[in-house]
């Protein structure tokens, strides 16, 4: 089990993240200030850190620099309300591995965490879920061994869903990963919906439930069985 450390001064958000991440199978500790966070890291080094920037006393960016000096490979995700391009670039330049702007969807956080840990592991060339199968290298998709022709975007969405099978993938994550949209207010919901609809038409059979389920208010989820 991966160990996470959350450094975040807002109690309610910290509590929610802790609960959510624990339920997703992480071991979570949390700190309300940078100093507390640093002393927790001394005790035991976590696998990744979620770092807020607006912290009491020492700014998050300072903490980030201190951490990078001592633990150069420790994965760090910044979670902050500072949303301009310059601020994001600054955070990433100072050594953060990822930057999530508040408010973010929880599923987005999960996806980024997984991506972060996957980077360390080997690349996955094949995905499987129920009777669905995907060959990432040849960009081929099969259902019950039968080849199904997908467009480039449909393939990207399907891969995203397969990689996170059983978990909710938010529209934000899709817009971010498939269409590379950084700004969240870009109106792509219609485009996403149409692609999902077409995917369903191609892969579902008439007499069964859809493989791709809509989770109201969040996004979509691929059945794992």
């Amino acid at each position: 089990m991966k160990k996470l450390l959350i450094i975040e001064d807002d109690d309610k958000l910290c509590q929610n993240l802790t609960i959510g991440l624990k339920e997703s199978g992480y071991v979570v500790t949390s700190a309300n200030s940078g100093e507390e966070g640093l002393s927790l890291i001394m005790e035991s080094i976590p696998d990744a850190i979620l770092l807020d920037l607006n912290l009491p006393k020492r700014d998050g960016l300072e903490i980030l620099q201190t951490l990078r000096k001592h633990y150069s490979t420790l994965p760090i995700i910044i979670i902050s309300a500072r949303d301009t391009v310059d601020e994001r670039v600054l955070g990433l330049n100072l050594g953060a591995d990822d930057y999530l702007v508040k408010p973010f969807a929880f599923s987005e956080l999960l996806a980024r965490l997984q991506a972060l840990f996957r980077r360390e592991q080997q690349n996955v060339y094949q995905h499987k879920a129920a009777d669905l199968e995907m060959d990432v290298v040849q960009r081929k998709f099969y259902r019950s061994g039968q080849h199904i022709e997908l467009t480039a975007r449909e393939f990207d969405i399907m891969e995203l869903l397969l990689r996170n099978k059983g978990q909710v993938v938010s529209r934000q994550t899709i817009a971010h990963d498939v269409w590379k949209q950084v700004q969240r207010a870009t109106p792509l919901d219609n485009v996403i919906d149409v692609h999902i609809m077409r995917l369903r038409k191609k892969i579902d059979s008439a007499d069964e439930d859809s493989y791709i389920q809509t989770v109201r208010g969040i996004g979509f989820c691929l059945k794992s069985e």
Binding site: V85, Q183, N190, G217
Partner: protein, 465 residues
């Protein structure tokens, strides 16, 4: 006391007057003093002649004067003739009565009169050489003619007094004159200050009367123009604030009521899931709205940092058209497009991209089903033009400007799923940041033609911002 324009004006005039009076007075003083001294010197010259004539050696071989009454006879201008007589070797030989108690210094120079002061009194002196035959030889004497300058001093003191007495009169006149002139001319300004001080948010639209067309009049006009610009900006801000609060309240209200209703009694699990999902949807709406508002506010304040790079705009346009094709197909809208390849343009891709996304999305969203969309992208001299024709209900001429305003939705023709009505505002802002503009025309289908024109020339880059 504040150094007002009026005070500065008066002080300046006074200083000028004092300076000119001083120069004037110094000239008079100098001329007058010169003239007096010149007269004294002439007297001394004459006296030297007199003294030479009356000088003799008496029986005892002492120096004497012919005149019985001695010095008294020899006077000049009522003042006694004072003199000293020195030997060639510098010994004092004789002095007049007036010089009895005056300290004596040996003659300094010959023939040139000069002034020397003893006991606070200046004496004008003239030394001349005089050769006298005595004991079969010529004796060389130095005659020192002396004039105590009491009368001169008195004259100069009188002049000073007169001047000192007259001095304040022109100063007073100048001070009063400058006060009057400045007061008269600045009256308009003071009134303007008073009027401006009384202007506040409530009576912002009242323009101030222009009475005279002098500089103050011009200032008033300029102020009025500023005021009218401010008024319209203020109105826009008021409308924006009320619209924004309305748009923010609507999803908030929805979230609140959904929460309250679902908690009001025991429910099935699916109902809870549904309610929470609905609340999340409204939260997303709220979040999008906040992001859009923030973008607009930053754009207005000129805070958005553009990260412009020369990029292939044609491929960006192509890419986004293709992304929207499936949706258009689902809506039974036929899309045709003619994109000139490899048109490059310096752009902040994340920002300018939104214009194309927004325009294409609007066209599909509002076009009738079935319908058609025609997109053209080409370059005309320095203008890069993206034009999109749709089959949506035609926007009336009087509304065409309005749709770019914030929160404006033409509700009769546009469905409510379209968001807060900020899309075109943000697009227009993004276009302007790229030296471009979006306009609307009617097309003959009938439908609307949205046209984005980007100007290439870099000179005018900052004018529209």
């Amino acid at each position: 006391m504040k150094l007002t324009i009026k005070l500065k004006f008066i002080l300046f005039n006074l200083l000028i007057t004092i300076a000119s009076l001083s120069i004037f007075y110094a000239a008079i003083y100098h001329r007058y003093s010169q003239k007096l001294i010149f007269e004294i010197d002439r007297g001394l010259e004459q006296n030297s002649g007199i003294l030479k004539r009356v000088l003799k050696f008496d029986v005892n071989n002492k120096l004497d004067l012919y005149s019985q009454r001695d010095d008294g006879l020899l006077s000049y201008n009522g003042a006694p003739l004072d003199y000293r007589i020195w030997s060639e070797s510098g010994l004092p030989l004789r002095r007049s009565v007036g010089m009895m108690f005056v300290e004596s210094t040996s003659p300094k120079q010959l023939n040139n009169p000069y002034t020397e002061t003893f006991a606070g009194i200046p004496y004008r002196m003239l030394n001349v050489e005089h050769i006298k035959y005595f004991n079969n030889s010529n004796v060389r004497l130095v005659l020192q003619l002396i004039h105590p300058m009491r009368a001169y001093q008195q004259n100069m003191t009188d002049l000073n007094r007169t001047m000192l007495f007259l001095f304040p009169i022109p100063l007073l006149l100048v001070a009063l004159g400058s006060y009057w002139i400045s007061q008269n001319n600045l009256k308009g300004l003071y009134k303007l200050i008073k009027d401006i001080n009384q202007t506040n948010a409530e009576n912002l639209s009242q323009s101030l009367p222009v009475t005279k067309m002098d500089e103050v009049g011009e200032l008033t006009q300029a102020y009025n123009k500023l005021l009218s610009r401010l008024t319209s900006a203020f109105e826009a801000l008021k409308r924006f604030t009320s619209d924004a609060s309305h748009e923010l309240r609507t999803p908030l209200m929805a979230i609140k009521s959904q929460g309250e209703i679902v908690l009001a009694k025991e429910r099935q699990k699916t109902e809870y899931v549904d309610a929470i999902g609905a609340m999340l949807e409204d939260t997303q709406r709220l979040e999008n709205l906040c992001t859009s508002l923030l973008q607009l506010a930053r754009g207005d304040a000129g805070l958005s940092n553009l990260n412009k790079k020369e990029e292939n705009l044609s491929s960006v346009v192509n890419y986004w058209i293709n992304q929207f094709l499936p949706w258009a197909e689902e809506k039974n809208i036929y899309v045709s497009y003619d994109i000139k390849a490899n048109i490059f343009f310096p752009m902040d891709q994340a920002l300018l991209e939104r214009v194309f996304i927004n325009l294409i999305e609007n066209a599909i969203n509002y076009s009738t089903s079935p319908g058609k969309i025609e997109i053209k992208f080409f370059q005309e001299k320095d203008n890069i033009i993206f034009q999109i024709d749709d089959t949506a209900p035609v926007i009336a001429k009087e509304h065409r400007e309005r749709v770019f305003q914030r929160f404006v939705r033409l509700d009769n023709t546009r469905n409510t799923a379209s968001g807060a009505g900020l899309g075109l505002s943000i697009s227009q802002l993004a276009a302007k940041k790229h030296n471009g503009i979006i306009s609307i025309e009617k097309n003959p289908w009938p439908g609307n033609r949205f046209k984005l024109i980007l100007k290439r020339s870099s000179e005018s880059l900052h004018h529209d911002q």
